[in-house]
């Protein structure tokens, strides 16, 4: 066994979140591995289709749910297209968990605002469910989630679950032009939705993930509310291959996204060389 050798997983469930985004529920072939496997929300893995290659996704399910992991992806290249051709019962390789994680222990006893756009909800979803599974250890939970259109919203069933919960404040938004006649949520871009939903930064952490442009325009809103740079958490992506610090590909200056990330604070991100 060498460090580049993946575990064998079986696809147990396939969910098409949107026209182009799919979620796979994976279980370890080796049940003893299934029992031992642990990870923290925010970590990622290298998922492979044998014969096609590996691709990097976060682990989109929470560590509080044992026995399986989930990943969500869009078919953009060779490996993700191949992943889409697989069916329930097919084998996927998995190497991980790699990287750092959201500091949930630090966040316990405080409030959290989760902000996500589009498929950016995938890594955030892992944290959200982790927190909801330990709900009484956190104060106020606010979720602001949006996408370009109603069709682009992911994890739609769970959005309904969160909407039903009294202990979660949920704001859903679609971009102007993306609403349907039945749409009951906000029609606004994320920065505006955050302004309208979040009233205080007191005792609160922010977790934000989405397209770079969304982050670019939402960070000033959070700063205006009084969130300091070291209480805003996000994830960075970069081209990866080994995922464990050796292939020399994912660094931004001296920071290796696969080792020092993928979770960073806004303060850390600002100090990085602007090469990502």
């Amino acid at each position: 066994m060498n460090i580049y050798q993946p575990h064998l997983m079986r696809i147990r469930e396939i969910t098409d979140e949107t026209v182009d985004t799919r979620t796979l529920k994976l279980e370890f072939e080796d049940s003893s591995l299934a029992e031992q496997f642990q990870f923290s929300a925010g970590q990622f893995g290298e998922y492979s289709v044998f014969g096609e290659g590996e691709s990097t996704f976060c682990i989109a399910s929470p560590p509080t749910r044992a026995g399986y992991i989930e990943c969500s992806f869009k078919a953009t290249g060779k490996v993700t297209q191949a992943l889409r051709r697989l069916g329930v019962g097919d084998t996927v390789g998995f190497r991980g968990p790699y990287g750092n994680h959201f500091p949930l222990d630090e966040m316990k006893g405080h409030s959290i605002v989760f902000i996500a756009g589009g498929i950016g909800l995938a890594p955030v979803r892992a944290v959200i469910w982790n927190v909801l599974d330990l709900r009484d250890q956190f104060k106020n939970i606010t979720i602001v989630y949006g996408a370009r259109s109603v069709g682009d919203l992911v994890y739609k069933r769970e959005l309904e679950d969160w909407a039903q919960r009294a202990d979660v404040k949920l704001c859903l938004a679609v971009d102007p032009g993306g609403e349907t006649p039945e749409w009951k949520g906000l029609v606004a871009r994320i920065p505006t939705a955050v302004e309208q939903t979040v009233s205080t930064a007191d005792d609160t952490f922010a977790v934000i993930c989405g397209p770079p442009i969304m982050i670019k325009f939402t960070l000033p809103v959070l700063e205006k509310l009084g969130f300091p740079g070291d209480r805003i958490y996000t994830t960075l992506e970069n081209r990866m291959k080994c995922g464990l610090g050796k292939c020399g590909r994912c660094n931004i200056g001296p920071t290796y996204v696969c080792k020092d990330g993928p979770v960073f604070t806004a303060a850390q991100m600002r100090k990085l060389p602007q090469e990502f």
């Binding site: 290659g53 290249g77 060779k78 297209q81």
Partner: protein
């Protein structure tokens, strides 16, 4: 100042170009120069050590060079053919480059030796050159030196290869190409390899495996040299760039000879002359189609 230096100085001071791409003395011999200030024009040199094909730097995808602005480029006849090829294939516009063509009497096979040109030291590609006075130019500079001596080394190597049986040649090339590490330095140094995405870089489908394996290496080198058929100007930059010292010039010359035989065409320094790979004539030799 030499004619070249004076011409460059004038082009820069009058603002005709923002950079003159030429040759200069470097810490380890002659190296490409990017002169942006008129006062620096006296760094430009031209002698038998100037083997590099500077046409490569005109590729608009070389953003760091392109952002310097309009360029003048120093070329030998062989290099001028590469510039013509880039114009022919719409990579650059004739009006966007100032061509400083040097009359040339040959260059050294190994510029580090800095010796006189003899039949042993001259580059194997110089003998019998028909473009010693390049016909593609904005300025034609320098004195015309005597004809270069003829180095028959490569001709002899190819003749020896052609005397082998197919399986002996296969063994020869498999052994030579076993050293190929798929670094693609040959492609990056070549002025005519300017595809935005090389066939070897495509993953859907993966036409050629990217690993250094016998079959993938053969496929890569054969594919590249065939894509160069009729386009390669025999500048030998590929061979010079190869860190594994694979005799790529043999393949290039062989394909160029084949194109000459079948299509009566040599890479032309006239951009208006169409190349065989881009043109169909009803009298094309098709004996290979049965």
């Amino acid at each position: 100042m030499s004619e070249l230096q004076e011409t460059a100085r004038k082009l820069l001071s009058e603002g005709t170009v923002s950079v003159v791409i030429g040759y200069e003395e470097g810490p380890r011999g002659v190296r490409p120069a990017f002169i942006t200030a008129p006062a620096q024009a006296d760094k430009l040199i031209f002698d038998t050590r100037c083997v590099q094909n500077l046409a490569t730097y005109l590729n608009p995808r070389r953003k760091q060079v392109a952002q310097l602005g309009r360029a003048a480029v120093v070329v030998k006849g062989c290099d001028a053919r590469a510039v013509a090829g880039m114009i022919r294939e719409k990579q650059i516009e004739r009006g966007n480059v100032v061509i400083l063509a040097m009359r040339c009497g040959g260059v050294l096979q190994n510029p580090e030796t800095n010796s006189e040109l003899t039949t042993q030291t001259v580059s194997v590609r110089c003998g019998g050159c028909t473009v010693r006075e390049p016909k593609l130019f904005d300025h034609l500079l320098g004195e015309l030196p005597p004809e270069p001596p003829v180095n028959t080394h490569r001709v002899e190597q190819i003749a020896a290869l052609m005397k082998m049986s197919s399986s002996e040649r296969w063994t020869f090339w498999t052994e030579q190409l076993s050293r190929c590490i798929r670094c693609h330095a040959c492609r990056e140094a070549c002025p005519m390899c300017f595809c935005v995405k090389c066939t070897a870089e495509k993953s859907q489908p993966q036409w050629i495996d990217s690993s250094s394996t016998p079959q993938a290496n053969r496929a890569w080198q054969t594919m590249r040299v065939l894509h160069q058929a009729g386009r390669c100007v025999d500048c030998l930059e590929c061979e010079r760039a190869c860190p594994e010292h694979i005799p790529l010039g043999l393949l290039a010359r062989y394909v160029a000879d084949s194109v000459e035989r079948r299509f009566e065409y040599t890479a032309s320094d006239d951009p208006t002359v169409p190349a065989p790979i881009g043109v169909y004539r009803t009298d094309d030799d098709e004996e290979f189609i049965r």
